[in-house]
């Protein structure tokens, strides 16, 4: 090798420089907890209140995830007259009927909704054998078992307010979606063994129509 002292010096120096650059740039490892550097934050964050965040409005700290103002009514909402009491449950069973005319496509839509909102507890066939249902203190009763003769009004009432271990699903499902679900749950129930529901509440307690 015909390397003069000067050339050797040059090569060493170059290598050191490359190592320096490589060393400094490869150290920019990202912290999983940091969102990184934000360029021009005024373009990223507008003064308008975003749907989920903390904002300072007129000097007050405001969390934008809030409940609607009391008394506000969602578009398309139909008031539900049956109260969340044992009496209301019985009344719903007697007088509440599905306002949607039955069609197979509605039942299909109900099936899709069932796959998203019910299946993990109630199971694919409504036997109460869903994966989450098994972890509950008591699994939900089967639709074609103890709930075989549950009238449509009671099904709707239970989805709306919840029943036993089940919570209210009114915030997740619109009333129309709940009625579609009722059609699919009725399909899982199979044909009823008792034609009419046992009359526990007399007709005088029928709630006033709005």
């Amino acid at each position: 090798m015909n390397l003069s002292y000067k050339n050797l010096k040059l090569i060493t120096c170059g290598t050191v420089a490359v190592m320096l650059v490589a060393g400094f740039t490869s150290c920019g490892k990202k912290d999983a907890n940091s969102p990184g550097f934000e360029f021009m934050p005024d373009m990223y964050r507008s003064p308008s209140v975003e749907y989920y965040g903390t904002h300072i409005v007129n000097g007050d700290t405001v969390n934008s995830a809030k409940l609607p103002v009391q008394g506000s009514i969602a578009r398309g909402y139909v008031p539900y007259v049956y109260p969340n009491t044992p009496e209301g449950y019985e009344q719903a069973g007697l007088y509440l009927k599905n306002p949607l005319a039955y069609s197979e496509s509605l039942e299909k839509e109900g099936e899709v909704l069932y796959g998203k909102f019910c299946i993990h507890c109630h199971g694919a066939n409504g036997g109460g054998d869903g994966k989450v249902g098994a972890k509950l203190p008591g699994p939900p009763p089967a639709y074609d078992g103890p709930l075989k003769n549950l009238p449509e009004g009671k099904i709707f009432h239970s989805i709306t307010y919840g029943k036993n271990s089940m919570g209210s699903h009114a915030s997740q499902l619109t009333q129309e979606e709940r009625w579609k679900l009722v059609y699919f749950v009725q399909k899982l129930q199979g044909p009823k063994t008792v034609v009419s529901d046992s009359v526990k509440v007399n007709a005088a307690t029928e709630p006033k129509k709005l």
Partner: protein, 426 residues
């Protein structure tokens, strides 16, 4: 209709008779545990956990002696109406929620079996349903190994600087002693900067190469760093923003192992621009009953109770509420319009296309860069699901007209205006 009805009732009569026999034979073999699970566990726990009904631990000390429990189980309505003091007391204490009347469904023997089970529940059952399953895998935290190479480099430089400094003075004193021996004049020690200056003038080529490499390397790394501005994603390792959340919620456990649909919690994804972060009442739909997790036990679920004001002892929402401050992982800048409903309902896209397979993630992580380049690449290659999609009927017709006679045209998103600036920026 009438014909149908009678047909049905005949069928159901046979069914009922068959069921009756099946049950009367089957039940004898069944034990209290099974009966309890079938009939009682929906509302009652054998521990002191209150579900819909009160927990049953210590029930034999609380309730009146004799046949009271049996009478209550078989027909609580009758017992309440008869004016029994204790029956009315617990009826009122539990919000007048009616218990099912089991007369006709359960025999005296069944009730005895159930009561025997409640008296001596198996120990593992008492430890609540959420106890860790055998063989449940415990996720290991990634161990952050080694020292940051930056600190290693800085340390090496510091050590070298000290060595150079001491060698300089050693060299100077050696030089002076040599000079004295030779009878030459002693030189004064040069300052560090003067010496560096002297060295640079003597080694111009060397310094030139050094400077060029440093400058160009620095420029390259600056250029690369620009790609990371505002992008919470590492292009090389494909790892993204993965913040620690206030509750150690695992998507793997919920959406993966328990097969809960994404839309159950993010239920506005099909109705709104935002997929939505679930409010705590949705957590409580299941966690009212499931009070123990497989990994962290009661610790993490207790945080939901703190947020919702739920008191697990009484089963009521009586405590003060403290909203959970979840940290948003997937963020687009405010000057970008993105609509979930449009992509999921009309475009029929899967959640995982943009969010990665959350069913395998213990901690939610950004798995795609979410940059404009990435959006556009996808819009260029994704074909619009037009067949059987009523939303596109008119568009489909018009495009068929436009590309008449050409067979290989793929109707990707960019063909229907998916690259227009104003689609997302306005």
């Amino acid at each position: 209709m009438h014909n149908n009805m009678s047909h049905f009732s005949l069928k159901s009569l046979f069914g009922a008779v068959f069921l009756f026999f099946a049950f009367s034979f089957g039940l004898k073999a069944q034990d209290g545990a099974k009966l309890f699970k079938q009939n009682c566990a929906v509302c009652h726990a054998v521990t002191d956990q209150k579900l819909t009904g009160p927990g049953l631990a210590g029930i034999f000390d609380r309730a009146p002696k004799g046949d009271w429990l049996k009478n209550w189980i078989l027909n609580n309505e009758k017992l309440i109406k008869s004016g029994d003091a204790y029956a009315n007391k617990i009826y009122n204490e539990n919000g007048k929620a009616a218990m099912t009347v089991f007369e006709g469904q359960l025999t005296d023997k069944d009730v005895d079996a159930i009561l025997a089970y409640v008296k001596n529940p198996p120990a593992d059952n008492a430890a609540a349903a959420g106890a860790p399953a055998p063989g449940a895998e415990v996720e290991k935290e990634e161990v952050k190994g080694g020292i940051d190479p930056l600190y290693l480099l800085l340390g090496a430089i510091a050590v070298l600087a000290i060595i150079i400094g001491s060698l300089r003075s050693v060299r100077h004193s050696l030089q002076n002693s040599y000079n004295r021996k030779e009878g030459k004049e002693e030189t004064e020690e040069l300052s560090f900067f003067d010496e560096v200056k002297q060295w640079i003038t003597g080694n111009r080529r060397l310094v030139g190469v050094f400077v060029i490499i440093i400058v160009f390397g620095g420029m390259k790394s600056c250029w690369d760093a620009c790609y990371d501005l505002g992008v919470y994603y590492d292009w090389e390792t494909q790892k993204g923003y993965k913040p620690e959340q206030p509750i150690k919620f695992s998507h793997k456990l919920h959406a993966g192992d328990n097969e809960i649909a994404c839309q159950y919690c993010h239920n506005s994804v099909e109705k709104s621009r935002h997929a939505g972060i679930p409010s705590v009442n949705i957590c409580m739909n299941c966690h009212k009953g499931i009070q123990k997790g497989p990994q962290y036990g009661e610790k993490e679920i207790a945080k939901i109770y703190e947020a919702s004001g739920f008191d697990p002892k009484t089963g009521n929402y009586t405590n003060p509420q403290n909203p959970i401050k979840w940290i948003k992982v997937h963020t687009l800048p405010d000057h970008v319009y993105f609509n979930h409903k449009q992509h999921v309902v009309v475009g029929k896209q899967e959640c995982a296309t943009c969010h990665g397979d959350l069913k395998k993630m213990t901690v939610a992580e950004q798995k795609t860069p979410l940059t404009m380049k990435w959006c556009i690449e996808c819009h260029r290659k994704t074909e619009v699901a037009m067949e059987g999609n009523a939303y596109y009927d008119r568009m489909h017709k018009a495009l068929k007209e436009k590309y008449k006679g050409q067979y290989d045209v793929k109707f990707t998103v960019d063909k229907i205006g998916g690259l227009e600036c104003a689609k997302c920026h306005y």
